[in-house]
C-alpha cells in the first residue's frame, strides 16, 4: 500500500478545494473587513500546521508555540515600528526618531539590538532564524536528555511564561504590555488601506500554501514515517539505529519556524503585536485549533483554525457576555465526541459516502479508496 506520489488523489482534491476556497470564494464573497479577519485567522493556521508535524506526527506536544509566534511577530513589528518612527512622524517626542514607547520610558537612543531591524533583508532572515535557533537550543537541551511528553509540555509553558514576563518587564525596549502599536508602512507602502489588506491577504495565502507543501513533503518523505514510528514506539526506532533526538529537534524547529512566519504575517495584517500572543493562554488556544481540526490532518488543522476563530468572532459579536461559555462547550463537544477532530469526522463519515457515491456510478478504480484512511488512524 505504499504510495510514492507526492499527493494521492484525495489529498490533491483537498488542496485544490482549499485553494479555490481561499483564493476565489472568500475574496469574492467577503468585504475587506471580513477578509482581513480571515487573514488574521490564517496567521494561526501557520501555527496549527506546524503543530500537525510536531504534535500530530512527531508526538511532541508543545504548549509554547506562542513563543515562536511572538518572536516572528516581534521581529516584523520591530521593522515596521522603526519605519513608522521616522523623525518627521515623532517630532512631538523629547527624542525624535525612536519608537514612541522608548521615549515614554526615558530612553534617549535606539538600543543596539534594534539597529539591524532597519533592514528588511535582516528582518526576514531574523523571522526565520531567531525562532529557529531558539527552538534548536530548547530542543537540543530537552531531547538530547530524553525529556519528553508531559515534562516537555510543561517546560514549553514555562518558556512562554518567561518570555511574556520579559517582554512586559522590559517595556522600554519592547513596548511592555501595550505591545507595538500603530505600524504603518512597509518600505514606504502603506499597509493600512483596504487595497493593501487585499494584497497582504493574497500574499499570506501564498505563503500558507508554500508551508502546506513543505509540510506535505515532510509527511510523505521517509522522515515523516520515522516521525510516526517514533510517536508510536520511540524505543524501537532508537534501537533500529536512528537518532530519535535529532528527528524530534527537526520537527520542533519546523513547527517553530511555521509559527514565526504566522506571527510575522500577523504583524503585517493586523498592524500590531503584543505580549498577549506570547503567553500560555494563546499557546494553548493554538493547540486547540489543531485539536479541533484534527491533529493528523494538514488541511483539517487549517479548517479547524478558521472555524474556531470564526466561531469566536461571531459568538462574541452576538453574545458579548456569554460567548466564552459557548466556545468552551464547542471545544469539549469536539474533543469528547470526535478525538480526531474535523478531519476525523470527514474521514469516518463524509468521505466514505462520497466515494461510495462515485464508485457506484463508475467502476471502482483499484486501490485508492483505502489508502487515505491509513493516516487517519488514531494515535494509540
Amino acid at each position: 500500500m505504499t504510495d510514492n506520489r507526492f499527493f494521492n488523489r484525495s489529498e490533491f482534491i483537498g488542496i485544490l478545494v482549499l485553494a479555490v476556497f481561499l483564493v476565489v470564494i472568500l475574496p469574492l464573497t467577503l468585504d475587506v473587513f471580513r477578509l482581513n479577519l480571515v487573514a488574521k485567522y490564517l496567521t494561526y493556521a501557520f501555527v496549527a500546521l506546524g503543530l500537525v508535524i510536531c504534535w500530530g506526527y512527531g508526538g511532541i506536544l508543545s504548549l509554547g508555540q506562542g513563543v515562536f509566534f511572538g518572536l516572528g511577530g516581534y521581529c516584523m513589528a520591530m521593522f515596521l515600528k522603526l519605519e513608522a518612527s521616522s523623525v518627521e512622524n515623532t517630532k512631538i517626542q523629547s527624542t525624535p526618531g525612536i519608537p514612541d514607547f522608548m521615549d515614554w520610558n526615558q530612553i534617549t537612543a535606539l538600543p543596539l539590538f534594534w539597529k539591524p531591524f532597519n533592514s528588511l533583508t535582516f528582518t526576514i532572515a531574523a523571522i526565520i532564524l531567531v525562532p529557529g535557533i531558539f527552538a534548536l537550543i530548547i530542543g537540543t537541551a530537552m531531547f538530547k536528555r530524553r525529556v519528553g511528553g508531559t515534562y516537555f509540555a510543561i517546560i514549553t509553558q514555562a518558556v512562554a511564561a518567561i518570555l511574556t514576563i520579559l517582554i512586559v518587564g522590559q517595556q522600554g525596549y519592547t513596548g511592555g504590555i501595550n505591545g507595538m502599536t500603530d505600524l504603518r508602512t512597509l518600505k514606504g507602502w502603506d499597509i493600512r488601506p483596504d487595497h493593501a489588506k487585499v494584497v497582504l491577504y493574497f500574499f499570506e495565502v501564498g505563503c500558507l500554501f508554500a508551508c502546506i507543501m513543505i509540510a506535505q513533503f515532510v509527511r510523505h518523505s521517509k522522515l515523516g514515517r520515522i516521525l510516526v514510528a517514533m510517536r508510536e514506539k520511540e524505543d524501537r526506532v532508537r534501537f533500529s539505529g536512528y537518532s530519535v533526538a535529532n528527528f524530534k529537534i527537526f520537527a520542533f524547529c519546523i513547527a517553530a519556524v511555521f509559527a514565526a512566519i504566522g506571527g510575522a504575517m500577523f504583524a503585517l495584517n493586523v498592524g500590531f503585536m503584543s505580549p498577549s500572543f506570547v503567553g500560555i493562554v494563546p499557546s494553548i488556544e493554538m493547540v486547540i485549533y489543531t485539536a479541533v481540526g484534527g491533529r493528523l490532518s494538514i488541511l483539517g488543522a487549517i479548517y479547524g483554525t478558521l472555524l474556531v476563530n470564526f466561531a469566536k468572532t461571531s459568538l462574541s459579536e452576538s453574545f458579548p457576555e456569554l460567548w466564552l461559555f459557548g466556545l468552551g462547550g464547542l471545544f469539549i463537544a469536539v474533543v469528547l465526541a470526535f478525538p480526531n477532530g474535523l478531519a476525523g469526522i470527514w474521514g469516518d463519515y463524509v468521505q466514505p459516502r462520497i466515494e461510495r457515491l462515485i464508485s457506484s456510478r463508475k467502476s471502482k478504480p483499484a486501490g485508492w479508496t483505502d489508502s487515505s484512511v491509513a493516516d487517519g488512524a488514531p494515535a494509540e
Partner: protein, 419 residues
C-alpha cells in the same frame, strides 16, 4: 451664553425651578440648529454613519469578560444609564440612540478588531469604550484610520492627544500634582516611597510625581518599586517601607494586587491612620475587594467620589442604583464613563451634525453642568478641565472628601518639565 443655557436646559439634573427661571428668557436666543426638532438626515450625516430619521447607532466597547471585566463593568453600566436618560429626554437631534455592544475580552488585539468592526461594518457615530492604556493604544490607530470618535473614561498617563478621542478621565498631572501639594502641605511630608504595578501608567505617573517631589516640593523619593500585574507578594517592599520610614507612601498598584497589598500592609502592623498613604488607583470599586477595614485611613486622589455632596450627584447615585442594584458602588472611572454619552450629545447638538470631523472641531469649549463631579468643560486638547479631590477611605468602603482644588485644573497631557 446661549450655549450654556442650552446645556442647562437639557441636563436631567437641573432642578425644575432653575430650568424654568433661568432658561426661559434665553430660549429665544438659542441657535436654530440645536432647537429644531429633527433635522433631515442628509443634513446631519454627510459621511454615511448609521443615522436614520429616528435612530443613531453608538458603540460600547469594553471588556465584559476576562480579568478587566470587574473594572469595566461599571463603565458599561454608566454609559447605558446615560444613554437611557438621553433617550428618555428625546435622544440626540430628535433621534434615539441605539447601542451596539462589543466585548473586548480583556485582550488588546480584540479591542482593535471590534473597534474596526464597529466603525467599518456598523458605522457607529461614536464609541464609548476602552479602559486600560493598552486597549486604547491598540484602538487608537483604528480610530484615526477610519475616522471614528472615541470617548475614553479612564484616568491615564497622558502623552497622547488625538482628534479622534475625547479623554473624559484625568491625565496624570491633573490627578497627581494637586494631591501631592496637599499632602506635602497638610502633613509636612518630605520623603516619599513609590510603589506601582509594572506598566506604562504607573511608571509615567511616578515619573511625573518624582519630578514634582524633587523639583517643586523639594522633597526626596526614598524608594521606587514595581510589581508585575496581578502580583500578590508585597512583603519585601513592606519591609523596605518599615526601614526607610517615608512620610508618604505613594501607590499606583492596580487591580487585584491591591487586595494583597493592603492586607499585607495591615498584617505588617502599618497603621494607615498614622502612616500617610496616598493612592491614585483605588476607587470605591477596588475597596469592594480590599475591604474597608484594610484600607480605612488611606488617602485617594482623583476627581470623583461616590459620596460627593452636590445636587447632580444626588440625582446620579440613586438613578445608577435604581438601574443596576442597591449594592453597586460608583468609582471615579464609572463617573467619567457616564460623561461620555452626555458630552457627545452636547457636541452633536452644538455642531448640528453627527459628522466626526465637525464633532472633533466643535468639542473644545463644550460644557456639561450636569456632571456628577460638578461642572466640566472640554479643553482644546480634547481632555477635560476638572477639579482634583482628595478623599479619605472609611470603614464602610466610601471616601470622605477632605480637600478639593478651588478651581478646575487644566489638562496638560504633554507637561513641560515633567518628561
Amino acid at each position: 451664553m446661549s450655549d450654556e443655557t442650552n446645556k442647562g436646559l437639557l441636563s436631567p439634573f437641573r432642578r425644575k425651578l432653575l430650568m424654568g427661571m433661568a432658561a426661559l428668557p434665553a430660549i429665544t436666543m438659542l441657535p436654530k440648529t440645536s432647537f429644531a426638532q429633527a433635522p433631515a438626515t442628509s443634513a446631519v450625516n454627510t459621511t454615511g454613519l448609521a443615522v436614520t430619521d429616528t435612530e443613531v447607532t453608538v458603540g460600547i466597547l469594553h471588556s465584559a469578560t476576562g480579568t478587566m471585566a470587574i473594572s469595566e463593568t461599571g463603565s458599561i453600566e454608566a454609559e447605558k444609564l446615560a444613554i437611557e436618560q438621553i433617550n428618555a429626554m428625546g435622544g440626540v437631534l430628535g433621534r434615539k440612540i441605539k447601542i451596539i455592544q462589543e466585548d473586548g475580552a480583556s485582550d488588546w488585539p480584540t479591542f482593535a478588531e471590534k473597534a474596526k468592526k464597529l466603525l467599518v461594518n456598523d458605522k457607529v457615530a461614536a464609541i464609548m469604550g476602552c479602559w486600560t492604556s493598552a486597549s486604547r493604544k491598540a484602538v487608537l490607530p483604528v480610530m484615526e484610520q477610519y475616522n471614528g470618535m472615541l470617548y475614553y473614561p479612564t484616568f491615564y498617563e497622558g502623552l497622547e492627544q488625538s482628534k479622534n478621542v475625547i479623554y473624559t478621565g484625568q491625565e496624570a498631572t491633573q490627578q497627581i500634582l494637586a494631591g501631592l501639594n496637599w499632602i506635602a502641605k497638610e502633613k509636612g511630608a518630605k520623603t516619599f516611597f513609590f510603589i506601582g504595578s509594572d506598566y506604562i501608567w504607573p511608571r509615567t505617573s511616578n515619573k511625573i510625581a518624582r519630578k514634582h517631589v524633587e523639583n517643586v516640593l523639594k522633597g526626596k523619593v526614598v524608594g521606587e518599586e514595581y510589581y508585575a500585574l496581578g502580583s500578590t507578594q508585597f512583603n519585601s517592599v513592606i519591609n523596605k517601607i518599615k526601614l526607610t520610614k517615608p512620610d508618604v507612601i505613594f501607590t499606583d498598584v492596580v487591580g487585584g494586587s491591591n487586595v494583597a497589598f493592603y492586607k499585607q500592609l495591615k498584617a505588617a502592623g502599618i497603621d494607615l491612620s498614622k502612616q500617610a498613604l496616598l493612592t491614585i488607583s483605588v476607587t470605591e470599586d477596588e475597596i469592594d475587594g480590599i475591604g474597608g477595614e484594610n484600607i480605612a485611613g488611606a488617602y485617594a486622589c482623583m476627581k470623583y467620589f461616590q459620596s460627593l455632596d452636590n445636587p447632580n450627584n444626588k440625582t446620579f447615585v440613586p438613578a445608577f442604583k435604581k438601574m443596576w442594584g442597591e449594592k453597586t458602588v460608583i468609582g471615579d472611572v464609572t463617573q467619567a464613563a457616564y460623561l461620555g454619552p452626555w458630552l457627545w450629545k452636547l457636541t452633536v447638538e452644538k455642531a448640528g451634525s453627527f459628522d466626526v470631523d465637525k464633532i472633533a472641531a466643535a468639542s473644545p469649549g463644550i460644557e456639561f453642568k450636569g456632571a456628577p463631579e460638578g461642572y466640566v468643560r472640554i479643553h482644546e486638547n480634547h481632555h477635560l478641565w476638572s477639579k482634583t479631590r482628595v478623599g479619605r477611605a472609611k470603614l464602610d468602603g466610601q471616601f470622605e472628601l477632605i480637600y478639593e482644588t478651588a478651581d478646575l485644573v487644566e489638562p496638560d497631557p504633554f507637561p513641560k518639565g515633567y518628561q
